[in-house]
Amino acid sequence: MENGTAHTPLLKNIAQVRQLFPILQSSVYGKPLVYFDNGATTQKPLQVIEAMDTYYRETNSNVHRGVHYLSGKATDAFEAVRKKVQRFLNAAQEHEIIYTSGTTAAINLVASSFGKKYVLPGDNIIISSIEHHANIVPWQMMAEERGASLKIIPMLPNGDLDMAAYESYLDDKVKLVAVNYVSNALGTVNPIEKIIELAHRNEIPVLIDAAQAVQHMPVDVQQLDVDFLVFSGHKMYGPTGIGVLYGKEKYLDAMPPFMGGGEMIQTVTFEKTTYQKLPFKFEAGTPAIAEVIGLGAAIDFIESVGIEAINRYETELLAYLIEALKSIPGLRFVGEPEKRAGVVSFLIGQHHPFDVGEILDKQGIAVRTGHHCAEPLMRIFNVPGTVRASVALYNTKEEVDVLVRGLRRAADMLG
């Protein structure tokens, strides 16, 4: 693995991949764990766990400030991951990569900081009706503060966005468009190339929430010409507590700092503080160093398998899952997007998703039930929530079969 020679063949031997994930060897209630809650968080491969362990054993020190050996070593490792993220996203410049605690923090940073710089009373921010709360609430808070409004791109009945409506919203009152790449609740892959192109025609910048995308498909920020792109480490085989904000230099440079503190300053007097240059301007305080190291290991892991190979494997698995689910009497999909990645949301008859999820749980099968932090969306579908199965590169067709048997049993029991 470490030497990167095990490219595509790794996924041909899924048992070998699963061996890399200690938790996948475990049982719950005496049954082998079948983990289909990857949209919430993925499991971690040994190399991520070990990278963090090794960091604390051999390198632990604070970054960017020590004169001593360990601090230098920690700083090098910390900054090497920034380069790795830059390459992973194909960002033009290293300092366009800002570490945050996760997707939520990254969106809050942009909402607050971009809002202060660019948003005036009467302006609009466009989001969509299929967003996670993390890509709704920060914009609501900012809009309220700035006297601006939100415009919501409606959804077509199948879970795709209404692109005609979107196009009609674009005018000089719109200061930013913020949409997800892949919907965490429905699995819809949004046509972000088109969304970005249309916004740019009106000189409007775009933020893409890629929390459900970077683990499933190649993402190239320069090719997309996206202005901001955010994601979390823990949904892509890395640790919790670390995420990334990619932003174009021209915006990040112009935006004021989000949080004040150590590390983000150049000089401080009680009268006036001058700020550090990018990326440190946005990284106040001691960062999550071990988590950054873990994120680096997660990127290494993904690249050792190959994101294209992951995409092919998961696309096939997802198609198999959808066909298998169709065999269950009374099952209906919530959202049948034209293009889908990662997740499938569904309900069986009138059964409450919570009941279905609990009976699956007792069979060792982990799924997510509820509104998936997308309450407005659930209201549009008029459902209390859904059962959501979400896949990762270590899931197998055999596991899909176990899930389907489990669902049949749940349906029988709930009758």
């Binding site: 209630y29 409450h352 919570f354 009941d355 007792k362 069979q363 209390p384 709930l414 009758g415």
Partner: protein, 141 residues
Amino acid sequence: MTINEIQDEIISEFEMLGEWMDKYEYIIQLGKELPSMDESLKTDDRLIKGCQSRVWLHADYSDGLLKFTADSDALITKGLVALLVRVLSGHTPQQIAEAEIYFIEKIGLQNHLSPTRANGLLSMLKQMKLYAVALAAQNKL
């Protein structure tokens, strides 16, 4: 039957059931058997907070006895609610207020339910106790 006799009866019923899937089948059965609450009673002020599924609790006080009716949109939750109603409904506020509820722990429900479901169950119990405590205090005045 006293509250404790009912609790003991439930404990022995659950002891007869083998693995947890059987216990779930039984809880689901209880959920199906609990009569649905009148739609007009399913108001927001009767909703119990802290459940992933919705639970409504209605209390009725007459002839010195506190009676509960309850419902849920999820079947397992409804079964659990049925157990609580069976234990606590139809006693005096004083008896309910002073009752020590041990059957949940004894049958292992707390360990086997998902934490959100267990929390919901405890919220419901708390709400039932609150009604009883308020009425018992009133009766003493």
